[in-house]
Symmetry: none
DNA sequence: AAGTATTGTGACGTTTTTGTTACAAACTTG
DNA sequence: CAAGTTTGTAACAAAAACGTCACAATACTT
């Protein structure tokens, strides 16, 4: 029923009948969006999501959950899983279509603008930072880390948050790895590097005014 | 009804009764999220959204539409307006809360919970206190201790309470350790330090008016 | 397929934080 | 005002958190 509704709306649809094959297909085809029922034969929808979010090639795919049980929604929406949206059964095909379209549209319009805080500008298309005309090439993780800090303004991000947002909610990466990337960032950014301030026992933040030590 | 539901969930809510005042408040306060009814006295919700999306300072704010008319949803979701999500009347407070939380989480703008008593403000994300524009960096335990005192208002906390709340009920930490931390706090806070008053034989409290000795 | 760049990990040194102790100062009580 | 409590202060040592480096593993180029 869902497949038909979406195809009629002009979307390309691939279906899977159980969790394992869903994962296989997602890996192979890397769709723009995944609709995931929580009640599946064998593997639960939660597990499928967890696996996909832990793999580099599929982690970015938005997942919309479909469920009949209202009490599961909290877990879906919570930080635990990277759910993008949800639909509760029974739902109209129209409702489902609207939500998928909304998610797809959000994703399209997302990766556009440069990110700037006045001093420093990040360019996602070139994966680099600009400071006073100077261009600094960054690696992918360095860039994303810096972008996360900048999006958060003056406030600090704790290591757990950063960990989840950089490597996904189920990654095996050590917390201290963040420190290393921070260090690499500081080195590359030169003088602007000490804008990255460490909040002891918590995480890191970007200060507008570089801290003057001693 | 909506306002109450969200406030109960710990969100800060500002309300506006018509389109024009909504725009004014959005411009002035730049909220993290806007809930917008389509049926408003005077200006329509569409127009409010258009105005906000056309102005630099408010364009980035996610707008969640609230509507009773299903046939309006297409326009909301369509490219025409930059809607982030929608809720159709009648809806449960729970549904609304879930969707707002989801949007906020996507935007990574978790509303910051500052603790203030008018004179001093505590910022958990930076682990610091602000007094008259001056920022004072605190260590983790210092911060928690000060936060505990502030939460308790004018009343005094006894050492046993503080001990449990800082180190847990099974800790091996000496009671006198609190005194040391109090001392460190006083030193760091400077003049505001003597707002921390010792209640002999009991514990400590935060006075609004600094005590003038001698 | 070899070479380069990127990334995660473990080890090590440094700095910061934290709890304890000892002693001085302040307060209480009789 | 003197003895006993309670609190303030400073110094010290242990522990925790952080920065840095070198190296191995992986991914990416050419």
């Amino acid at each position: 029923m869902i497949g038909t509704a979406l195809r009629n709306a002009g979307l390309g649809v691939i279906e899977a009948m159980d969790g394992a094959s869903a994962i296989d297909k997602a890996r192979a085809l890397v769709p723009d969006l995944i609709l995931l029922d929580l009640m599946l034969p064998g593997m639960s929808g939660f597990d499928v999501c967890r696996v996909l979010k832990s793999e580099k090639n599929t982690a970015h795919i938005p997942v919309v959950f479909v469920t009949a049980r209202i009490d599961e929604i909290d877990r879906v929406v919570g930080l635990e899983l990277g759910a993008e949206d949800y639909v509760i059964k029974p739902f109209s095909p129209r409702e489902l279509l609207l939500r998928t379209q909304m998610v797809l549209r959000r994703r399209q319009s997302a990766p556009e603008a440069l990110l700037s805080d006045g001093v420093m500008t990040l360019d996602p298309t070139r994966c680099c930072a600009e400071i006073k005309g100077k261009t600094i090439k960054l690696t992918a993780t360095e860039f994303r880390l810096l972008a996360l800090l900048m999006q958060n303004g003056e406030r600090a991000k704790n290591r757990e948050q950063l960990l989840v947002e950089l490597w996904g909610s189920v990654s095996e990466v050590d917390v201290r790895t963040i420190d290393v990337h921070i260090q690499r960032l500081r080195k590359k950014l030169g003088r602007a590097g000490n804008r990255i301030e460490c909040v002891r026992g918590y995480g890191y933040r970007l200060t507008t005014e570089p801290i003057l030590h001693k």
